[in-house]
């Protein structure tokens, strides 16, 4: 699999809080392939953002600490490489977009300045060249009248336009990987669709690899090549978009999909997953989803399920699917 561009191996991230150690990410592994859009899905607090921040080692430490694992990009382990090397990768090779466009731009500089900053830093462009390139980037992400607006300040932009500026800044050095941490959550639906179009174009035209983080299965459906479903700091299911949407195997994934409103199905109520996510200070001993699972086995409470291959590269961490259990005829319907 030479196509792999980013490899996360057995990542463990803990937060040391006053109440105890929060195991926010507990031994997760996944690969990202060149030119694919990989969606990291899960509800709030399941560790999606922590994974994303760990890739660029952006976690605030303390309280966060990466306890183990590897994140391989090119020839480097991003978790261990020296700070200078990491700074060259950040923004230049791997760029990141954040959730809240209100606060991710510096209020005291013009947007043009902020896009140009990366160009000056990584590509060593002069001020004039950098500003010209910024202008082109602003046009590329669909900011109307970019030439007039390049010297405006962030507060003069709407939320959607600000997110476009953020995307332009992230794209400025033509990174290989774009990490987008819930980039559409703070936007309204029409703007969201426009922003998703930009991501789609990027993937198609620049063959950019995009790690897209969201809690919204609806957004994922039209965009993802592959999906990683996280729950309680662990990856519970990984597979192509088709695998996940057509053959959801883990009970949690099925629960998530049941929460989606559907046009075709005649249903007057959405089915929520009962219960709430467990405290990650004292996670359940076995499967993290066990307390909320509809089809748990006695084994689930005590033994942590290993990842098993369901089909092709569709993997699931669930005892129901483990060969020993399946053999006994407990295969979930």
């Amino acid at each position: 699999m030479d196509n792999t561009i980013l490899k996360v191996k057995d990542l463990k991230v803990h937060f040391f809080t006053r109440h105890g150690v929060v195991k926010a990410v507990d031994g997760d592994s996944f690969d990202m392939r060149r030119g694919e859009s990989l969606c990291l899905v899960g509800e709030s607090g399941c560790g999606k953002t922590t994974v994303a921040l760990s890739v660029l080692r952006l976690l605030d430490s303390p309280p966060g600490k990466i306890m183990g694992g590897e994140i391989l990009y090119g020839g480097d382990d991003l978790l261990k490489c020296p700070d200078d090397r990491l700074r060259q990768i950040r923004g230049n090779k791997i760029a990141m977009i954040f959730q809240d466009p209100q606060s991710s731009l510096n209020p005291v500089f013009t947007v043009g300045d902020q896009i140009a900053e990366q160009l000056k830093l990584h590509l060593k462009l002069g001020h004039r060249e950098a500003m010209e390139k910024s202008l082109r980037l602003m046009e590329q992400v669909g900011i109307p009248r970019a030439a007039e607006r390049i010297n405006d300040y962030p507060h003069q932009f709407s939320g959607g336009m600000r997110q476009r500026v953020m995307i332009a800044a992230a794209l400025s050095c033509n990174p290989e990987i774009l990490i987008a941490d819930e980039p559409t959550t703070a936007l309204d639906t029409t703007v969201k669709a426009q922003i998703m179009d930009i991501f789609r174009d990027l993937k198609r035209e620049k063959n950019m690899s995009i790690l897209f983080i969201t809690h919204d299965m609806g957004t994922v459906a039209g965009f993802a090549d592959r999906i990683v479903v996280m729950y309680g700091g662990r990856i519970v299911e990984t597979g192509s978009a088709l695998d996940i949407f057509d053959h959801p195997t883990h009970p949690y994934t099925r629960g998530l999909l049941n929460c989606l409103p559907s046009v075709s199905a005649i249903r007057d109520r959405l089915t929520p997953i009962p219960g709430a996510i467990p405290s990650l200070i004292n996670p359940p001993k076995g499967c993290v989803f066990d307390p909320r699972c509809e089809c748990r086995l006695p084994l689930c409470a005590t033994v942590r399920p290993e990842e098993v291959v369901a089909s092709g590269d569709h993997t699931v961490a669930c005892h129901q699917c483990a060969p020993s259990v399946v053999g006994e005829g407990h295969k979930p319907s």
Partner: protein, 365 residues
Amino acid sequence: MLTKIGNKVGGLRNLLFLCALMLLALVLVLDIYAVDRILEPLGYFYIVFALLAIFYGIYPLYLSRRLTRYYWDRTKRHRLAVFGLVFIFFLVAVAIAGPFLTQDPTKVRFQEKNVPPVGFSITQSVYDVKTDTFSTVHIPGTWRHALGTDDKGRDMLAMLVSGARVSLQVGLLATLIAILIGTVLGVLSAYLGGWVDNALMRFTDVMMTFPFFLLLVFIIFIFGPSLTFVILAIGLTGWTGTARLVRSEALSLRTREFVMASRSLGASDSRIVFRHLIPNVLSSVIVITTLSIPGVILAESALSFIGLGDPTVTSWGVVLNAGQRTLDTAWWVAVEPGVMLFLTVLAFNFLGDGIRDAFDPRSQV
């Protein structure tokens, strides 16, 4: 080529500023070895101050005229702030041009002592040597000494003008030193966190609990009462409040997403401090600057009042001190510098209030 180097230090403007500073340093080196002084020690402070004001004050204000207009309109709504600004401009003009127009503030004329200001007159008993008698003399104010003279016949107007110069020098320069130290320490403390933060803040606490005036007296006792040391002493002790305030602001800025975003795009620590933290705390720094100038001016006056100021310069504190000895015969000697001090302090306070309101987003209507 020039822009390439400029990029390294964060812009052409910084580069030019650094060049100017280096030039100044060169002059300083020459000054140390040269026989004749090129510049007074205080001259260096002024030039640094002027450079800072031009590069980081006037030029950016000119660049973003729209914002300048906006904040000026908001400040203008505060009537008293405008009064303050006008008074400060008047004071600056007097301090710069006045000494060339008035008489020598140190010239003693005993035959003209205790002349009241124009429009006032006093009766005084004068001892006549020839007849060995006391006679009562009626002394009217004259235009020659519009604000009167003190008990040594020195011209009050000249002394007040000289005092204005001293007060502004000390007020601006000492505040500048204090604010620079406070801002840098505050931002560093907040950004680095951990034991650095702890060490710096405990040091600030110690500085704060130390009796400020005693420390000043100490420094001046050790280094001698020259105006330069008075400025340094006030500047080096007055940064604590600024450091704390800037730290608290920077602490909240540090966790804002744009800092994380900038880091995710490859910015280094120094870039984050200079481009993201410092520019964002500047609005509060400007407000504390204007609000702390009056305190500094009062501190200088207090020092010279108790006789710890520079004995070679005539500051308002010195005149006040002279005046309080003759309060019963020549009230104006004490009242005039007092009024000036009062008005100056008030003007800076009003201006500070106006600027604070202009910068406060909550007062946005």
